[in-house]
Symmetry: C2
Subunit: 230 residues, 2 copies
């Protein structure tokens, strides 16, 4: 742990007034996520992050390290938040379709409310090269393993329960489908988060086989004819 | 069209013997795809491409232009080939599930036999920055529109036929699922191309709803209990 730079400040300005370290770190990370998402790692400057955070550059370096370390810290925080948001949405007490639906809804809703977070993770981390692409890759892998275990748990009562490892390729496909749908959303902002979640739910739960027959999934277990997604 | 550099060669060496322009261009593009896929745009050198192709640098510049133009030409050729491979696999005479199955099989098989092509398109084009990321994006968009129209055609006989535009988000999800599954495959090379195609077929056609009940899709319309994918 680095020494608290406040200890050495003789005449703190108002914006540098003594705040708990955790609050300062949060302010720095909030600003850094915003700037890295907008500019990408290479074009982002510590000057801008300092300005947006209202915290001096020496204090940023003291708290969260170099520009590289700060970017990694952003990836870690945002990936953790996204995974936690999905995890808490999934309720093992409800049926597997309802679990998947809740997870997808929270995912699209979360990304809509945290665009910078998603851009940082999904676009700027891979585009920043190493070690950032690998850091994001590890978090993406963790998300897939989590989803695979959720999918496997959904088969527990079935005739042939599946192991989490068997569900991994399906989890990989589901994650890729969600990512691609989000990219598509950027070009089609007229759709709602729930509308997107509903489409992916129908593809993932029902499949094209049902969709081409006009059967679709809807919350609460109503089998409906004719899908109306938005 | 650029002048044929052969016209100005006085003492052609054996490897530079007169060949039709189309053959030379193919040799250059084959070598360029290999080198760009292995090194990425920025680290690839025209020296290496020249060496692998067995064609002089001046001739490469004369035929296909700058390093940037050559990279764009590689993206165009490889994307066209991939889309054509999938298009020709789809036979409108067979049922929609069989069409999807054929398309997925050809896709995974094609990528397995053309690894460099896929790495060039899916990894090196986006990582190369602009204009390459946008060029790849346009081809990916074209593939999605094609797939959306194929999916819409599959609903023609159904109670509620869908328009190609309505199928676009599903096509986006399907493309993302296939891409993500290919990334997963790199870490799990013990699986076969058909095994991956079968998993995605089951996710996309049947959906998790059937899978958790132990129902899976198999070629020829046999409804089977218990999925055995590889």
């Amino acid at each position: 742990m680095r020494p608290d730079p406040d200890d050495h400040e003789e005449s703190p300005r108002p914006r540098s007034r003594r705040l708990p370290r955790s609050v300062r770190e949060r302010q720095i990370l909030d600003a850094a996520v915003e700037v890295y998402a907008a500019r990408g790692f290479h074009l982002a400057s510590m000057d801008e992050i300092s300005e947006v955070a209202g915290i001096s550059k020496p204090m940023i370096y003291a708290y969260l390290g170099s520009k590289e370390e700060l970017f990694v810290a952003c990836i870690q925080r945002e990936a953790t938040r996204l995974i936690e948001a999905i995890s808490t949405a999934v309720d093992p007490e409800v049926g597997p379709d309802e679990q998947l639906w809740r997870g997808l809804r929270v995912f699209f809703d979360y990304v809509q409310r945290n665009r910078a977070s998603w851009v940082l993770l999904h676009r700027q981390a891979p585009a920043g090269g190493e070690p950032f692409a690998a850091e994001f890759g590890q978090w993406r892998e963790r998300a897939m393993v989590l989803i695979a275990s959720l999918l496997a748990r959904a088969t527990e009562g079935a005739a042939q329960p599946m192991q989490p490892q068997q569900m991994e390729p399906f989890a990989a496909a589901l994650v890729g489908a969600a990512e691609s749908l989000l990219d598509w959303w950027v070009e089609h902002p007229e759709h709602t988060a729930d509308g997107l979640a509903m489409r992916l739910m129908n593809l993932a739960w029902m499949g094209f086989g049902d969709l081409v027959e006009g059967r679709s999934w809807s919350p609460g277990g109503d089998a409906s004819n004719g899908a109306a997604f938005d």
